[in-house]
């Protein structure tokens, strides 16, 4: 094995890793923000919204992320330049960049998968605890914020941890739309040095480190919340 290329490319790997982290964290934040209402309306109704949410989850979970990513980047992305004047607008630098499309695709994916997880989580909170919250005089929003949501998240915390790890390992797909995140950098190394396996091993090592950090972080958070019923 030959590793002499590593010192030269290490800074670029670090940049790539930073891009991976950004993609992951932003997508999880946006995706979970959407997943909460998507899960909730499937439990509370109204019916049409519940169907819409269910349909969204089914489509997102039933199609490959790679195809979603390409449809959004090459499909939606190619529609924008045809809008008159858009090249001169302040939006253009963002629309031209691939990163926002990746954020969009990954957020939708997280929203679809985690919306389904949250549906089960909301449904799993004992009705009696919600009744107790209403009986003490809480408004519907207070019931949600103080009891329903925290109880739901508590129940599915280990599941969510696993889901986020899976999302992390899906991020190399972003390399296919010109985003040089960690895996993208390893491809550059391969092209420029003709070394195939070393860069792959190195980037695999980076993902393991990232996964480990993520797991430790979530384990720490999980220990902060009380156990489920003994």
């Amino acid at each position: 094995m030959v590793w002499d290329w590593l010192p030269e490319y290490l800074p670029r790997f670090m940049e790539g890793l930073w891009l991976t982290v950004q993609l992951l964290v932003i997508s999880i934040v946006i995706g979970m923000t959407l997943a909460i209402p998507i899960g909730l309306v499937q439990v509370t109704g109204p019916r049409p919204l519940a169907w819409l949410a269910k349909g969204f989850c089914t489509v997102v979970r039933g199609t490959p992320l790679l195809i979603q990513l390409w449809l959004i980047y090459y499909g939606v992305g190619s529609l924008f330049p045809s809008i008159p004047g858009i090249r001169e607008s302040f939006l253009w630098p963002y629309l031209r960049d691939a990163f926002p499309y990746a954020i969009l695709a990954f957020s939708i994916s997280v929203a679809g998968y985690e919306g389904e997880v949250m549906r089960g989580a909301f449904r799993g909170v004992p009705k009696g605890e919600l009744e107790a919250a209403r009986a003490i005089g809480m408004s519907p929003f207070q019931v949600l914020r103080r009891v329903w949501l925290p109880r739901a998240v508590q129940n599915v915390f280990p599941t969510l941890t696993g889901e986020f790890i899976l999302t992390l390992k899906a991020t190399p797909l972003a390399a296919t739309i010109t985003i040089y995140e960690a895996f993208g950098i390893s491809s550059i190394v391969r092209q420029e040095t003709y070394r195939i396996y070393e860069p792959l091993l190195f980037v695999a090592f980076l993902y393991i480190c990232l996964s480990a950090i993520l797991i430790l972080l979530f384990r720490y958070l999980e220990n902060k919340i009380p156990k489920r019923s003994a």
């Binding site: 004992p126 605890e129 009986a135 003490i136 005089g137 809480m138 207070q142 103080r146 508590q154 003994a230």
Partner: protein, 262 residues
């Protein structure tokens, strides 16, 4: 003052008039009325399915009555009429009423993600707008009283049923409610844990709290109640002071019921 009659003495804390409740085609409550004055302990007894729990749940609108009137300290719940029944028209009023009706459930229903202390201060802080310090001070004296001071930082899942129910009573008390509602508070408990909960409820009755209680503990009902209501198939069949209902009921059915459960 006539405690059991319907003459208006002006100190009526809770008044329910002609309450009806149907689940689809099944009429569970067929016009139930009651009145509780300040300090009254009204106990509802009756067989399973007689509608006593439903009645209690209608009082704080966890179940919506089909028709009827509910008055707390002279103020009636505002309803609007729909084809299918009535709907409370003033959400803020409903929340205010509920905050004054301290509900204790059969299955405790403590919030499992909060410690005992957090459970007890939650209502005062979130609903009544007390500061955390005020609420904590209030909670400390209540927890002392129900004997859970040492357990204040425990989570409900690690406590016995009796302890959980006492914590749930503390949670309701912390709101300083006008009326306490007990929905079979000891039915989910192991027999040896019933006593500790009844003792707490009895001490509340003795200090003159207004309470409505659904229970199967006949001896307890007899000891603490000022009035007992026997419900049968959604109607009041017997009503009066405990001595009368338990020893000399006019209704045969009521006589059989109290003898059987005794």
């Amino acid at each position: 003052m006539n405690r059991n009659g319907f003459s208006d003495t002006g100190s009526t804390t809770l008044e329910v008039n002609d309450l009806h409740k149907s689940f689809d085609d099944l009429e569970v409550l067929k016009g139930v009325s009651m009145r509780a004055h300040e300090g009254d302990v009204v106990t509802m007894i009756g067989a399973s399915g007689s509608g006593k729990s439903t009645f209690l749940r209608c009082i704080n609108l966890l179940e919506l009555p089909t028709s009827g009137e509910i008055k707390l300290k002279g103020e009636a719940v505002e309803f609007k009429n729909l084809k299918s029944g009535v709907l409370p028209s003033n959400k803020k009023q409903v929340q205010r009423f509920r905050s004054q009706l301290g509900m204790v459930f059969q299955s405790f229903n403590l919030w499992q993600h909060m410690t005992v202390m957090q459970n007890v201060i939650e209502g005062p802080v979130q609903v009544l707008g007390l500061s955390r310090a005020e609420a904590t001070a209030r909670a400390e004296s209540i927890l002392n009283r129900v004997g859970l001071w040492e357990k204040r930082d425990d989570y409900p899942a690690f406590m016995s049923g009796g302890q959980q129910q006492r914590a749930a009573i503390a949670r309701a008390l912390a709101m300083e409610p006008s009326v306490m509602l007990f929905d079979e508070p000891t039915s989910a408990l192991d027999p040896e844990l019933v006593g500790e909960v009844l003792k707490v409820i009895q001490s509340l009755a003795e200090e003159g709290r207004t309470m409505i209680m659904v229970t199967h503990e006949m001896k307890f009902a007899r000891d603490v109640s000022t009035e007992v209501i026997y419900l049968h198939e959604g109607k009041i069949e017997e009503q009066g002071p405990p001595k009368q209902v338990f020893e000399n009921p006019a209704s045969d059915r009521c006589r059989k019921f109290v003898q059987a459960v005794h």
